[in-house]
Symmetry: C2
């Protein structure tokens, strides 16, 4: 007998109409390595927002209980052609209790346990999840385990990636985010140098309170000098940026090049030979990335996504990372939330306007049974 | 007894004054592996122009015989701090006759021969060059051998780099340049797919005349469709761009992603998993590179320079490439020139205004004894 419950869907029509609404749906019985999870908590991460709200005009949207209908700007809509007409689930990750399991040993072993999972439809009362991707939470609450995958594995991924490329220091352009705080703790534990860029004085204090030694405030008059000093002291010519749009990557490259140039004994019109590497792993700003010709030709910029990266390193490395997350869930990998909302509340105008702003330290948690 | 002759120097002062002038200088006797070359021909490549003219205000420059003095715009001048006050030579490559040689066997073996060389001060009547970087030209003229290094080794470098990365097709954004024509002939000889982007109909004809099968005109109304079709047919998700500024790289990535998306069976908010790779190897346009968030996270953009690349592949691979250039100097690797100028003529207003425009197919050749 199928389990019924509420699930959120987001649909973008060819004419630019975005409908985000709850529906009562049936969840199938889990088979094989699947488990059925009664979801208790799911975070709204920046990576969820693109599909949930995107660039839609929320100010003028129509809101009704459990639903809103908004218009997508023409430019965004044209770039979203591939999803036109598709009714998509949302919510990368969350935590809940396994209430049914497929035949496999791995699935059966999770029966009755609280787990964190990565179902892709976490804004829902129930989810089908793959047992191999579930992390048993033991005595931890669902709230403690709700964000156990995306941010922790991304932050650990940065460190794995840097080590694999022979780096012993990295730069992070949004230091005070939940992920940035995790990365700060990981780098301290692992003895990896870290340059944190933040935008406000209280964020400087926050990260210094965590033990970060190189925190640079982009609002300061001497930001560029501070940034160069931090790169000089750490040797961080390798960085990660979740903003994407604007000049933050360019600024990072320019600072790296300025430090590298100081070490050159001879002028070169082609810039320094120091390799400079940046990764864009998010698009908090969807405006274009601006790269000025200010740092020669010794640089590389890539997009970075966690799932392809995890695939590239293999199951053993991934298991090791997951074990570390589980062992340090309420310390190194702790997340904090500004607000808890029900599935209905997450579709109100006040809530959408607030969480789409993606302000640092103001993450939402969805509790589907509240 | 020292050899005397004219040599060009370019000096940028801290106040933005750029002085480019000929001086009578003494050339030392070659030692060890050095040879002294009486220079007969040297091309003005785009890679020479940055240091020769840069963004200087040539319209209002002061011209006198063998000299001009121009003002550098403040923005460019600020970015050029590292060269302030330095009197620099110019001219990457050229060809001439070895009139003196150091003690080494390699140097002695070149005595009396016509060679192409990469001295870095080729706009000069004499140059000291390293014997190991000289290519003996046999019966070829200096004009035939003047451009035997920069463009040939760059074009061959693209092919080496693509093969090393497992690619069997590449995209080139300025197909009709001297380098682009070489690349077209190399790819045909090696059976590598090539998508050439050009800006004019006569350039389409030129490249089709060379046997290029995928030539796309960016002035055409259906440019994007043409470009996608060419990428679809060749599988070119790997490209090289000498423009740098503006949206040409972005356009290439967007076309690659559109083709990759057609092959996807399921929508992904993160874009396709097809890796897309572009290299910027020049800065014909010094305005910022614009990257829009239109192709997910599966992309990498790097600066590309020939000399570090040659260092990375080692001496054997480089020797193999140089042998190929020597064997095919007047066919695969032939260059053509619009005009020949003396050292004095290259510093006249008419000449500077003309060669700094870097129009396709209008390369200058400097003949220092004319």
């Amino acid at each position: 007998m199928a389990t019924k419950g509420k699930q959120l869907f987001t649909t973008l029509e060819a004419d630019g109409t975005l409908t985000v609404a709850l529906e009562e749906v049936s969840f199938p019985d889990p088979t094989g390595n699947q488990v059925l999870v009664r979801m208790e908590a799911a975070p709204i991460n920046p990576s969820d927002l693109a599909i949930l709200v995107g660039g839609a005009n929320i100010e003028n949207a129509q809101f009704s209980p459990g639903k809103f209908v908004a218009q997508m700007p023409a430019s965004v809509n044209a770039a979203s052609q591939a999803r036109h007409g598709l009714k998509l689930p949302a919510g990368n990750e969350g935590a809940g209790t396994v209430i049914a399991a497929g035949d496999s040993d791995a699935a059966q072993a999770l029966m009755g346990q609280r787990v964190s999972c990565v179902p892709g439809n976490a804004y829902s009362q129930y989810c089908i999840a793959d047992a191999s991707m579930c992390l048993p939470l033991g005595d931890h609450s669902a709230e403690e385990g709700a964000s156990a995958f995306i941010n922790p594995m991304t932050a650990l991924g940065f460190v794995e990636n840097a080590r694999a490329d022979g780096q012993d220091a990295i730069l992070h352009t949004v230091g005070a985010s939940n992920l940035g705080q995790m990365l700060t703790r990981i780098c301290l534990e692992d003895g990896l140098g870290l340059v944190n860029i933040v935008r406000k004085d209280d964020q400087v204090d926050l990260l210094k309170g965590l033990g970060s030694t190189h925190v640079v405030n982009s609002s300061a008059d001497d930001f560029m000098d501070q940034l160069c000093a931090a790169i000089r002291e750490t040797g961080a010519f390798y960085g990660f940026d979740p903003v994407g749009g604007g000049k933050l990557v360019d600024t990072s490259f320019r600072a790296m090049e300025r430090v590298a140039s100081e070490r050159m004994t001879e002028y070169s019109r082609y810039g320094s030979t120091q390799m400079k590497r940046m990764f864009i792993y998010g698009r908090l700003d969807t405006s274009p990335t601006i790269l000025t010709p200010s740092y020669g030709f010794g640089w590389t910029l890539s997009g970075w996504l966690m799932f392809p990266f995890l695939q590239s390193i293999g199951q053993d490395a991934m298991n090791r990372m997951r074990q570390r997350v589980r062992d340090n869930l309420t310390t190194t990998f702790a997340s904090s939330y500004k607000t808890r909302v029900s599935l209905e509340e997450m579709l109100t105008k006040d809530a959408v306007m607030d969480y789409r702003a993606m302000r640092t330290g103001e993450k939402y948690l969805v509790t589907p049974w509240a």
